[in-house]
Amino acid sequence: MLANDPLKRVLYIDLSTKRFWVTERPELFIQNIGGTGVASALLEEECPPEIEPADPKNPIIFAVGPANGLFPIASKTVSMFLSPHNKLLGESHAGGRSALALRLAGYGAVVIRGKSDFPVYLVIDSQGVKFRDARGLWGLTVSETGRFIREREGGSGLRSILRIGPAGEAGCTYACVVTETYRHFGRLGLGAAFGYKKLKAIVIVGKRALPVNDRKLYKETYDEILKRLQEAPSLRKYHDIGTAVNVLPLNKLGALPTRNLRSTRFEEAEKISGEYFAENLLGRRLACAHCPMACIHLAALRTPYEDEPYFYKTTFISYDYEPIYANGSMLGIGSAEGILRLLDAIDNLGLDAMSTGVVQAWATEAFERGLVSEKDTLGLKPRFGDVETYLKMLPLLAQKANEFYAALASGVDYASQKYGGQDFALAFGGNEMPGYHTGYGAHVTHLTGSRHSHLDSAGYSYDQKLSPEEITPESLAQKLFEEEVYRQILSSAVCCFFGRSVYDYETLAQCFRLSDFDYSVEDLKLLGEKILKRKYFFKKKRGFALKKLKIPKRILETVSPHGKLEEAFLRKALSAYERLLEDSGT
C-alpha cells in the first residue's frame, strides 16, 4: 500500500477509560484489503470466545477500504461485533456518508472496546476522539437524537451521524444503528451493541485528500468505471423506481412472502408496489455519498393532527423493497400509507425493519392460534392487515413492556422457543427471513450465508435465472459459495453490492493497484475464501454448525415458484456448502 495512505491507521477507543490511540497497521490491510477482510481479522483479535454479547469485552469494529473516497459507489462501511441477535457473527454494512467520513478523517478502521458507565456520544475527526456526555440524549428517538447532534456539532456535508433509538438502549437484539436519517446498519443488532456500551451516537467528520500512485491512470480508470455504472442496465431500476420495483415481479412469480408466508401472492400487491409509491408518494430521491445511483427513495407522507382542523405534518420516510415486504405483504397490509406509518415508527425506535415485520407476523399467527393471549399482548389483538394495532405494539416491543414483548424483542427464534410456533417462526440462523420465497437458492443463501442475509450470496437471483431441473444441491452450493467468496472482496473494497455488475475481480484489482495493493485476480479469489472461512470459523467456535440449523416447516409447506421444497434437498446443499467451507484450498 502507499506509504502516505491513511488507510493503515486503526483508531482504538476505550469507552471504560475514555482513552483513544492510533496504531499504524499496514500489514493488516495488505493482508486483508479493508472492510470485511480487516474487520473480520480485528474481530478475531478482539472478541474472546466465551463471552455474551452484552459483555463489555464484545468489541464494535468499523472498517473501510481502499476504494472508499477514490471510486464511485464505494460508499459502504462494514461493522462487526458479536451479534446480540444470534450470538454469532454480527456483520452489517451501511451506506450514507460514514465510509467517506471515516476514510477522509484518516482512518481505515475503528475498534471500540469497553463500556461507559454513563451515556456518551463520540466525535471522531482527524485529531482523534472527543467523548461527549449523552445523558441528555438518552431515551430520545433516532430523529430527535440526530437533530440535536446535528445542531451542536460541526462539519455539515463532511460528516456522518450514527445513532440509536430507544430499542438499542433497551437491548432489543435486532435494534439497528441509523446513519444520515435514511440508511442503516440494519441487521443482527449493532444498535443493541451500542446500547450495552451506553454509546448513543458517533459523529465522524473528515475531508482529507487521498493519494494514488498514478494520477493520470486514476482519472482514466474513474471515468471508465463511472461510465459503466451509468450504462449498466441492471442498475437502471434502482435509479428509477428503486428497490421497491421488485414487489410486483415477485408477486407475479408467487415468491412474495405474504401473511407470515402462508401464501406467496398478495392480492393487494399493486397498492404497495414500487410503482404505486413512485406515482403517489415519492417526494425526493437521495444518494449515498459518492454514488451516482440515488437509489434512496423518500415518500412524503402528509398526516393530519386529529385534535385540530387544517393542521398537518409532512414527514419524509424512506422505503425499500425489504421493509415493504416485511411490514406490508408479510403483515397483510395493503396500504402504502399504512406501511409508511409503521416504517416511521420503526425508524424512530431504532429497530431493524425486516426483523420487526417478521416478528409481528409471527406474533399475529401465534395469537390467532392461541399460543399467546390478550394477557400477554397487554390487551391488543394483532390481526393481519391491522395497522393501528401493529403501531401500538412497536413501542411495547422496543421497550420490552412485559415478558411477552421482551421475548418479541429477542426475535422469532427466541419467542417461539418460549411460546411454541417454531414451525412458522421464519428465521434462518436466528436472523429473520428476507422477502424471497423464490426457491432453493434463496433459502440455501439464508441458511448458509455468513450473515444469514439474502445479500450474502443472492440465491434469490439464481432461482430466477434457472429452472428447477438445472439445479442440484451440489451445483447450487458451489455457485453460492463462489458468489459469497466474491462478495467478501467487494465488501473489503468497500463497494455497494449494487455495483457488482461493474466491479468484477479484474476491475477491483485494477482499483486496488492504484493504491499500490498488488493482487492478481487469483490472489483475490483466494483471499475471498480465506475471509469467508475466517468468518465461518468464528461462528463454529461459538457452537454454529450448518447441519444443526433449523429449517422452518413453513418454507416447506408453502409452494415456491420452484414447486414444493424438500427438506432433503436443502440438507444436501447444506452438507455440500459445509464441505466447501471446511475443505477449500486455503
Partner: protein, 137 residues
Amino acid sequence: MARLKVLDTDRCVGCQLCMFACQRRTGTGGIAECAIHVRSRGGLSRGLTVIVCRACEDPPCLSVCPTGALLKRKGGGVVLSPKKCIGCGFCVEACPLKAIFWNEETQKPVICMHCGYCAEYCPHNVLAVEEDQSARQ
C-alpha cells in the same frame, strides 16, 4: 469567460460527485482541495444545498485580502496566487455565501476557478457552465 452556475438545488440528490470531481482535477482522491460543497439543509429530509463561488463582479473576498493574493478573474470571481497567500482566512470570512473553503493540509483557501469539471459529473443537471453575458456583448 465562462462561469459555473447552480441551476436548481432542488434537483440535487447529495451524491457529492461534484466534490470528488473537483478534487480529482488534481489527480488525487478525497475532498481536501474541493471548491464546491453539498450539504443538507439541516437533515436530509429537508433537501440539499450546493455552495460554490458565484463569480461576483465586485468580489468582497478580494477587497479584504491583505497581500494581494486574490486577483480579479475575467468574467467574475477571483484567482488565487498561492505564493502571495499567507493563509489569514479573511477571504473566508468575507464571503456571504461561505463559498470559500479551507484546505486543512495546506492551510490555504480553496476557491472555485469556474473550470466546469464538476458540472461534467453531475448526474442530475444541477450544475452548468454558462458563458459570461458581458463578454459576449
